[in-house]
């Protein structure tokens, strides 16, 4: 795994020094979730039924919001060319970048979600399954996002383009993430949904470094 730890350390350091970015993502997540009771009315029955969906959709949007910055600054200051030319495999570097993205956005979202679950009157059984489903789902979001972020490099309005590219790919993750929580709330078995989520994560981990690395090479040519 030559280059993985070095890149991960650099990305985390950049994220910490630039500060604010991951805080912003969490704030966005919280605000979107808080808007739903205002829009749908404060009736506890409705909120607890759609609570898992609200949290998942908001997490998707928040993860996407931070996605376009994954390579953007490296692309602009020429570091991306040097990363492509470095002796470490580009696939590993891309994987490290996705891992850093998850640590700085996905993980804070997971930490914030129980509180939001309480706000939405989500039942306790659902809460635990939601945490597991987010833990399996958000790394997959970062991995899939790493491909899309590389594809829109150099495009004008990359931020808008990236949502069009990425949201259809997020749909299966959303379906099984919310499905697991709903099953738990109805006291049905939720293992199959979580296993599919795990499978999606493994699939993304296996394919995304190659796809994203190919897209990055294309972008710097």
């Amino acid at each position: 795994m030559r280059g993985f730890t070095d890149t991960l350390r650099r990305e985390l350091r950049l994220a910490l020094r630039q500060g604010g970015d991951s805080l912003l993502v969490v704030m966005f997540f919280v605000l979107v979730v808080v808007l739903f009771p205002l829009g749908a009315g404060p009736e506890p029955g409705i909120l607890s039924r759609i609570g898992a969906g609200i949290i998942w959709v908001s997490a998707l949007l928040a993860a996407m919001l931070s996605m376009d910055r994954l390579y953007q600054s490296d692309f602009e200051d020429g570091s991306l060319e040097l990363l492509v030319l470095s002796p470490a495999p580009l696939e590993i570097i891309v994987l490290a970048k996705a891992a850093a993205h998850w640590l700085t956005t996905g993980l804070p979202l997971i930490v914030a979600s129980p509180l939001l679950g309480l706000l939405l009157n989500l039942e306790v059984e659902g809460m635990a399954v939601m945490l597991v489903s987010l833990t399996l789902g958000t790394p997959a979001l970062s991995l899939v996002g790493a491909i899309a972020a590389a594809l829109v490099l150099g495009a004008r309005r990359g931020g808008v383009l990236i949502s069009l590219l990425i949201l259809p790919l997020f749909v299966p993750i959303l379906i099984f993430g919310v499905g697991a929580v709903d099953a738990a709330l109805l006291e049905l078995t939720y293992r199959p949904q979580l296993m599919v989520l795990g499978a999606l994560l493994l699939l993304a981990a296996a394919l995304s470094p190659w796809a994203a690395a190919a897209a990055v090479r294309q972008a710097v040519a």
Binding site: R2, G3, D6, T7, R10, R13, L14, R17, Q18, S73, E76, D77, G78, S79, E81, L82, L83, V84, L85, S86, P87, A88, P89, I93, V220, A221
Partner: protein
């Protein structure tokens, strides 16, 4: 004798033919200077040599083996200095260089030492702790050039390396290239300045 060569290279950028049927060769201990007007294809040729660009036609060979057959080996023996400096403003000077050295160097215990030596050589040793956002354009360029020393490699590809450098730093750069060649290294340098006497030169038009 190790040789890096290209034959019948053609480069097309945005449907415009930049150059065609171009050949070059660099041997151990020699440098090749690329000259020519703006837009004549110096940077494109260097990017082809670095494998950032694929030529539309022609072959790029290292010891008669096609470079594209073994990209990791080529990246291992090549250092490329392009126009952007790739310096992260929020990282310190030392952290910037340490990252590039660590990712290029397999023997991690030597990284700290070689980073220190490299910063010494380009005159940034006293700024090692300073965030890179306070560097001037010339200092950023020197930090970029320090990568060549912190993570040594056989082949240097330098795209107008002296841009933004003061006289003293230009002299340091020249001595860096000279000692690199003396150790059997190779260099391809695109430049608008005077080419050193006796150096090989390829004029692009």
């Amino acid at each position: 004798m190790v040789a890096f060569s290209g034959t019948r290279l053609t480069c097309i950028r945005g449907e415009r033919l930049v150059f065609e049927d171009l050949g070059f060769s660099v041997e151990e201990g020699t440098a090749l200077y690329l000259t020519g007007a703006n837009g004549s294809g110096k940077s494109s040729l260097l990017r082809i040599m670095a494998t950032l660009l694929r030529p539309a036609a022609g072959e790029l060979c290292w010891n008669a083996v096609d470079v594209w057959d073994d990209i990791p080996a080529h990246h291992d023996r090549t250092r490329y200095v392009g126009h952007p400096d790739g310096v992260k403003p929020v990282l310190s000077v030392g952290e910037n260089l340490t990252f590039w050295a660590a990712i290029s160097e397999t023997r991690s215990e030597q990284v700290g030492q070689s980073v220190q030596t490299a910063l010494d050589r380009v005159g940034l040793d006293r700024l090692s702790e300073m965030p890179a956002r306070f560097l001037s354009a010339g200092q950023r360029r020197r930090l970029n050039l320090a990568r060549l020393l912190a993570a040594p490699a056989r082949l240097w590809l330098l795209d107008e390396p002296a841009v933004g450098l003061d006289e003293g730093s230009t002299a340091v750069l020249e001595s860096m290239i000279a000692s690199h060649l003396a150790k059997g290294g190779m260099a391809v340098v695109a430049t608008h300045d005077a080419v050193p006497a006796g150096a090989r030169r390829l004029e692009l038009s």
